[in-house]
Amino acid sequence: MSPDWWLYLSAALFSVGAAGVLLRRNAIVVFMCVELMLNAVNLTLVTFSRINGDLDGQIIAFFVMVVAAAEVVVGLAIIVTIFRTRRTASLDEANLLKY
């Protein structure tokens, strides 16, 4: 049972996350899917760190988490602002920035 399986798992998680981003219209759910994708990446990093035998992977995963946290904060702030002014959290209604 080689470590590839973990990689296949992360690939699956990543694709599901991506599909989620494309399918769902509620901003927060989309945001959760993004988090899911980030987690998938962390998994890959950790797995490779184990495969390569040095801790760099984990360091990067750690940094990914930090960045993810920052991103969540700002993302949610944006969603709240949009909600406050638009009374909706659906992505499709914020479509003024177009041709």
């Binding site: 981003v21 494309l22 219209r25 992505l91 479509n95 003024l96 920035l97 041709y99």
Partner: protein
């Protein structure tokens, strides 16, 4: 018989033309011949209105001074022995590029001396005449400026020592004739005639240009010495080509067969212009070119045949047109065209004909210029009326003009004591002596044309000076002022005795001998000269009688009567203009319009179309930004997928 003659000629022409002796002593004045009128023209044209009061005097002075220099050079040339009478004066190196080394230099030899004398002599007389003729014209200074420019260009043409410098004079003369024909610029007809003259001349110049190029390609030089000296080392095919191209150039300038349409329209210019340029000097440039390139034509028999054909065709066309025209200047112009046809015919008969051609050229210079000046004074008297049907009975009112014009008339129809008889009769004789069928054909055309010339000249005299007065109301013709009649008298005297002076004792022949070789008398005449002279006199008498019967006795209607197809054709210049328009002008205009459309639509259309497609494409691409975050996410994800795929493909 003709074979014998041509061998004699070839052997004759073998003697290389004498290489010019460098100019020294009085001959260094040669350059002043050209410079004087050039300076005169520059002064007149550049000085502006200030020079109006004395402008014309400067013009006349320049021309007369140049004539005096010519006379001085003539006598110093007389001093030299026969064979070193060609003096070369090197001026400066003009176009020194690798193999193509052309120097500007002048060549004074008997042939060019004859022309210089004619140009400066007749030129000065006409300058004096136009003082009177143009006295009340505002642009008189400009007129004299252009006349001086013409004289300078013509002198450069005849004095040039190489074909390229001759070409400069050639187009310079064309420019001067353009300026002078279109002198009264406010008249649209004059402007069009001037443009037509220049363009048709330019077509001729293309021929001359190509000839010079061919010469450089074969001889490596364009100077007379280099080209004419080595003529016999070159294949006759090239020589024929050069000859034909030179002929095309000559036709352009001397208004011969294919390119003759411009001469009759050139009558739009003031009469002194017609007299000087379109009678005496410029139109004879073609003959000068043919005579100067004698050695080339001697070795290219079919080129020479072409020259004679062109000459014969033009002389008959000119004679025919002369009979039908009512405008006095147009009649004289047509007669000039036919007389030059005679000269070209003579020049095409080989060495025998050169001297006779120049002889006829000189005598024609006198009597035709005299007649044009006469016509000028008639027009001047009847306030610029040109239609002969409004003339009639002028002999009593304008005696001097009548007498001078009459002498010119007698000279042109070839009455024995007058100059025309000596020169034209010799041409007819030389034409017959050419032998063979071509000899007979050319001889008879010349003979018949002499008769027709007599006919239309008598018609002119009858309509103008005899019969009852058909003047316009309120016209009271008076004799021209003395400043105009004096030159006419001198020219009349010239047309009377010039022929005899030059021919008796063969003075002109031996004068031109070093340049054109002896005019060989050997070879049996097809018709004995005396019999031929009698026949010509008979034909001329018939022509005069015909003319007198038709126009002398009957009253002449004021408006031109309806006439048969031949006369209508002659009135329309034998459809020369119509042919040019149909073949060249109209297709040219159509092509220009189509090309303008093509350039706008085709080439430009393609370029603008390219721009439009790019613009349209970008507009369509712009619609992809739908504003929905999720479609952007989709395209991003698609992009990522592509990148991963690419990485995989590369790695596999």
């Amino acid at each position: 018989m003709s074979v014998l003659a041509s061998q004699a000629l070839a052997q004759l022409a073998a003697a290389p033309a004498p290489s010019p002796v460098p100019a020294s002593g009085s001959f260094s004045l040669t350059v002043w011949l050209v410079l004087l009128p050039l300076i005169g023209a520059a002064v007149l044209l550049l000085s502006g209105r200030r020079a109006d009061p004395w402008g014309h005097l400067v013009g006349v002075a320049a021309s007369v001074a140049s004539f005096l220099v010519a006379v001085v050079l003539f006598f110093s040339l007389q001093g030299h022995a026969g064979d070193e009478r060609s003096i070369g004066q090197h001026l400066f190196s003009w176009v020194p590029v690798a193999g193509f080394h052309v120097d500007a230099g002048l060549l004074l030899d008997p042939l060019s001396m004859a022309f210089v004398l004619l140009i400066t002599g007749v030129g000065s007389l006409i300058h004096i005449y136009s003082v009177g003729y143009m006295s009340h014209d505002a642009g008189r200074r400009r007129f004299f400026g252009y006349l001086n420019l013409f004289v300078a260009a013509m002198l450069l043409l005849v004095l040039a020592d190489g074909y390229l410098l001759l070409y400069v004079g050639w187009e310079g003369v064309g420019l001067a004739s353009y300026l002078l024909i279109g002198f009264w610029t406010f008249k649209p007809t004059a402007a069009t005639a001037a443009k037509k003259a220049f363009v048709v001349n330019r077509v001729g110049d293309v021929g001359l240009g190509l000839a010079i190029m061919l010469m450089f390609a074969t001889f490596g030089t364009t100077s007379f010495v280099g080209v004419l000296g080595n003529a016999d080392f070159v294949s006759s095919g090239t020589l024929t080509a050069i000859g034909l191209l030179l002929l095309l150039g000559a036709c352009g300038k001397s208004a011969q067969a294919p390119l003759q349409t411009w001469l009759l329209d050139a009558m739009e210019g003031p009469t002194p212009v017609s007299a000087l340029i379109h009678a005496a000097t410029m139109v004879t440039a073609g003959v000068y070119l043919v005579v100067r390139s004698g050695p080339i034509f001697d070795l290219a028999p079919d080129a020479r045949l072409a020259v004679t054909i062109v000459g014969a065709v033009t002389l008959s066309m000119g004679a025919l047109i002369g009979c039908a025209k009512d405008d006095i200047k147009k009649v004289l112009a047509a007669s000039t065209m036919s007389q030059i046809g005679y000269m070209v015919l003579a020049a095409g008969l080989g060495p025998a004909g050169y001297a006779i051609a120049i002889l006829h050229l000189l005598t024609h210079g006198f009597f035709k210029a005299g007649m044009f000046l006469g016509a000028g004074s008639v027009m001047h008297a009847l306030d610029d009326e040109v239609d002969m049907r409004r003339y009639g009975g002028l002999r009593k009112v304008m005696p001097i003009t009548f007498v001078t014009f009459g002498l010119g008339y007698l000279a042109i129809i070839g009455l024995p004591p007058f100059s025309g008889f000596f020169s034209k009769d010799k041409i007819i004789e030389a034409a017959f002596d050419k032998g063979g069928t071509s000899g007979w054909v050319l001889g008879t055309t010349a003979l018949v044309a002499a008769g027709v010339t007599a006919f239309y000249m008598t018609r002119l005299m009858a309509m103008t000076f005899f019969g009852e007065a058909r003047w316009a109301k309120g016209a009271h013709p008076h004799e021209a002022p003395s400043v105009m009649t004096a030159p006419m008298v001198v020219l009349a005297i010239g047309s009377v005795c010039a022929g005899g002076l030059l021919v008796l004792g063969g003075s002109l022949q031996n004068w031109l001998e070093p340049v054109v070789g002896q005019s060989v008398e050997v070879g049996a005449h097809t018709i004995s000269p005396t019999v031929l002279t009698l026949i010509t006199l008979l034909v001329v008498g018939g022509g005069v009688a015909g003319g007198w019967v038709v126009f002398g006795r009957r009253s002449i209607p004021v408006t031109a009567p309806a006439a048969g197809p031949l006369v209508v054709a002659a009135r329309r210049d034998l459809y020369g203009d119509a042919a040019n328009e149909a073949l060249l002008m109209r297709p040219g205009q159509w092509l220009t319009r189509w090309l303008v459309w093509f350039d706008g639509r085709g080439v430009d259309g393609f370029v603008n179309g390219l721009a439009a497609t790019i613009g349209g494409g970008s507009a369509r691409l712009r619609r992809w930004q739908t504003g929905f975050v999720r479609s952007y996410a989709l395209s991003m994800f698609g992009g990522a997928a592509l990148v991963v795929a690419a990485v995989l493909v590369v790695r596999l």
